[in-house]
């Protein structure tokens, strides 16, 4: 494992001819391109040689069993987890160079909701990237944050302490923060986890609207039953890409069996062996 420097975005090997063919409908540069991405935790590989090219304007679900590396893939694309091989490009450029165009929505449980801030403080953080290190958010940023809160139906809560929110409201605040970033590509880690039915419906509507405005959204999702109706495209993941394509084509018994069935035990045993030997 190469130390702190994530390999993503070094662009080595270039965007050459061995990348997967694009969906012709998407045209031009893919919103997200992942090539031969391999990621390890403490020398144990969790993702192997992931290849992916997501056309712009699509709503993509990432599904797979626990431990399949769904969150790791998202974090690795964002450069939060160092890759041990491969590269990632966002709209044709390394993530780091195009960071303003990618938004990340972490898992709700990843933060301490007793933190002393209110809803507005959190949503304003969506503007911090553009403001840079020292500039303060002004009227324009506040208006943008308020508009984002409006889109998730949380305008009335802007002064509410985040500790006093329900799980669904917390998730909406995270989405509002992402909307305030005004990105073209979003990666969301389990936005439906532990939210109420009303919030789930609101998020689905919101994701559809974002897609209709030309945004590309990748969503880590754990519920196969709803995956089929929520997403245009599905990425079936289990330590490697089992299948990626339009939902109707990919959502087949055979491919799901390959993703969730026990066929990949050999791969995970190999990973253990590699971890032991290094």
């Amino acid at each position: 494992m190469r130390d702190s420097e994530p390999c993503v975005g070094t662009g080595e090997g270039g965007g050459g001819g061995d990348t997967p063919a694009l969906d012709p409908a998407g045209g031009g540069v893919p919103a997200l391109e992942v090539h031969d991405l391999t990621v390890s935790y403490l020398k144990r590989p969790v993702l192997y040689g992931v290849d992916l090219a997501v056309p712009p304007g699509k709503l993509v679900g990432i599904v797979g069993p626990n431990g399949a590396g769904k969150s790791t893939l998202v974090k690795s694309v964002m450069g939060l987890v160092p890759a041990s091989g491969g590269w990632v490009k966002v709209f044709g450029r390394p993530t780091r160079e195009n960071i303003a165009r990618v938004g990340y929505v972490p898992q709700r449980e990843s933060v301490d909701w007793d933190f002393p801030v209110n809803v507005m403080d959190v949503v304003l953080m969506g503007c911090y990237g553009r403001l840079g290190l020292v500039r303060r958010p002004g009227k324009a940023e506040r208006e943008r944050a308020m508009a984002a809160l409006g889109k998730v139906g949380m305008e009335a809560y802007s002064r509410r302490q985040i500790a006093n929110l329900s799980g669904g409201q917390q998730q909406r605040v995270f989405l509002a923060r992402a909307l305030a970033q005004e990105c073209d590509l979003y990666l969301m880690d389990e936005p439906f986890a532990g939210v109420d039915a009303a919030t789930e419906a609101a998020i689905v509507t919101l994701l559809g609207e974002m897609r209709d405005r030309g945004k590309t959204v990748l969503v880590v999702h754990h519920d196969l039953a709803t995956a089929r109706e929520y997403f245009d495209m599905l990425l079936l993941l289990n330590m490697r890409v089992v299948a990626f394509g339009d939902t109707q084509e990919v959502f087949t018994g055979e491919l799901l069996q390959k993703t969730y069935g026990g066929r990949l035990t050999l791969l995970s045993e190999m990973a253990d062996t590699i971890a032991r030997q290094s």
């Binding site: 964002m78 780091r96 972490p106 933190f115 801030v117 290190l133």
Partner: protein, 482 residues
């Protein structure tokens, strides 16, 4: 993301900090009498001492003024940085750095022939950061988690420091010894102008850092992954923060001592955390509490002549924390208890008035007296208990007690109608809109009737299209009657 699993929230550290205070008091009082205390005064009359403390023009208390300024400076720095430590659940990190710097302090003494605050600051900060790096390295290369890694580094660095101090004491240049010892338990009397000047520089730098980089620091404290995802230089910010943390710890060491300095970081900030709901307010309050605690330490140390400063500063901070724990406007235990008690009384009062109203309603009388016995039967309580409640209600002019009977005042009648109205509207709402069976809604309404706000009731009524009767066919009192 590895930070999110950090154990030991700041508040839990308080207990051990208090234990450390007790130990510190014992150790310091068991030591030899110190010759050079603040102002080098020996006064027996405490009131005279208090007078001298506040008489800053007294030439003899120049040492006190130096201590005073120093306490304000490091109290502020500790409060400011401690706030971030508490909300980031890094309390153990502060403790570890404060112990790990000891070898650096010894090195600083060896380096300069005289006690040179800058040499000590550089040496101690360097070693403290080395300790932080070792912790990081252990975490990354093994499966050992942060708490254990901190424990290992804290103890081993501290042990090295103790050995080095002993070696310096055994060696030449023993003139430095007494100065070196103050770093273990802290003695604000040993501060000189150069020390305070160093503190001033550190405080100004710390305040500037936080003022300039407040938002990025807030973002990495709240959500590290997100902060990194928007391109904030998370590692650089973390490094900067740890540098300033080490500076603040090192300049406080001489006054507070290695063992207790982390309490001064954590306790004022933890008290501020209980008092404030917004980070920027918490920073201010923590700074004030930090300065207050440090001053209390100086004051009591001066008052008692031979008492050590560090433990009193920590005790001061702990006292403020205790006050915040009990009386914080929203999170205080006592304030919460008061609120709960007021709520219980409201429920009891309203139930009593409602019972009177229902008896009147059943008997078809708009107002008038109700027998105590009938009321007791209605509420299923002994008469004595009912009477006790009614006396309270009488004092608040909600009922009038007559001979063996009770009647509602105008205000009491209004309150009773309001509760009944809430109750029946809620029952109707549950039955009509939420598909509850009519025999399932009473218990729920019994609870919520006391807490519905006027806005909520108006909305209920609108949604139900201004109904006249509840699911059991009883009339719902109108808005005008309440």
């Amino acid at each position: 993301m590895d930070r999110s699993t950090d154990p030991a929230p700041g508040r839990r550290r308080i207990g051990s900090a208090v234990a450390a205070v007790a130990a510190g008091v014992f150790l310091a009082s068991a030591g030899e009498a110190h010759a050079e205390r603040i102002g080098e005064l020996v006064q027996t009359d405490p009131w005279e001492q208090v007078g001298r403390f506040f008489d800053l023009s007294d030439e003899n208390t120049r040492g006190l003024r130096v201590a005073f300024a120093g306490a304000l400076f490091f109290g502020a720095a500790c409060g400011l940085l401690g706030s971030f430590i508490v909300v980031r659940r890094m309390a153990l990190v502060g403790d570890a750095i404060s112990h790990a710097v000891l070898p650096g302090v010894a090195l600083g003494f060896l380096w300069g022939t005289d006690k040179d605050p800058v040499a000590i600051l550089v040496g101690a900060t360097a070693v403290g950061l080395l300790g932080a790096l070792v912790v990081d390295w252990i975490q990354r290369t093994t499966r050992i988690k942060q708490d254990a890694a901190l424990g290992i580094v804290l103890a081993s660095f501290f042990a090295v420091g103790l050995c080095m101090i002993r070696m310096i004491q055994n060696g030449e240049g023993a003139a430095n010894i007494s100065g070196l010892k103050t770093y273990l338990f802290g003695d604000i009397g040993s501060l000189d102008r150069a020390d305070v000047a160093t503190m001033a520089v550190v405080v100004v730098a710390t305040v500037s850092l936080v003022a300039l980089l407040y938002r990025p620091l807030l973002a990495i404290s709240f959500d590290r992954g997100f902060a990194a995802s928007i391109g904030l230089p998370v590692r650089v910010l973390d490094g900067l923060f740890q540098h300033f943390l080490a500076f603040a710890i090192v300049v406080s060491l001489q006054a507070v001592g290695v063992v207790l300095v982390s309490a001064l970081l954590i306790t004022p900030a933890a008290a501020a955390y209980l008092l404030c709901d917004r980070m920027h307010k918490m920073l201010w309050v923590a700074v004030l509490i930090g300065m207050l605690s440090a001053l209390l330490g100086v004051f009591f140390s001066f008052l008692g002549n031979n008492l050590p400063t560090g433990p009193f500063m920590v005790l001061g901070a702990s006292a403020v924390f205790l006050l915040a724990y009990l009386f914080a406007p929203r999170h205080g235990r006592f304030t919460k208890w008061l609120r709960r008690r007021a709520r219980r009384r409201k429920v009891r009062d309203e139930n009593a008035m409602k019972a009177i109203y229902r008896i009147l309603e059943r008997e078809g009388r708009p107002e008038g007296g109700v027998g105590i016995a009938a009321l007791a039967a209605e509420r299923g309580m002994p008469e004595a208990a009912v009477l006790g409640e009614l006396h309270g209600l009488g004092r608040r002019r909600h009922v009038e007690l007559g001979d063996g009977e009770v009647s509602l005042t105008a205000e009491g009648l209004r309150r009773a109608r309001k509760v009944v109205r809430n109750h029946r509207l809620w029952e109707l709402y549950l039955t009509n809109e939420a598909d509850y069976a009519p025999d399932h809604v009473h218990d729920d309404a019994e609870k919520i009737e006391h807490f519905l706000t006027e806005l909520e009731v108006a909305e209920l009524e609108r949604q139900l299209d201004f109904p006249q009767t509840d699911p059991h066919g009883q009339p719902i009192p109108g808005l005008k009657s309440v």
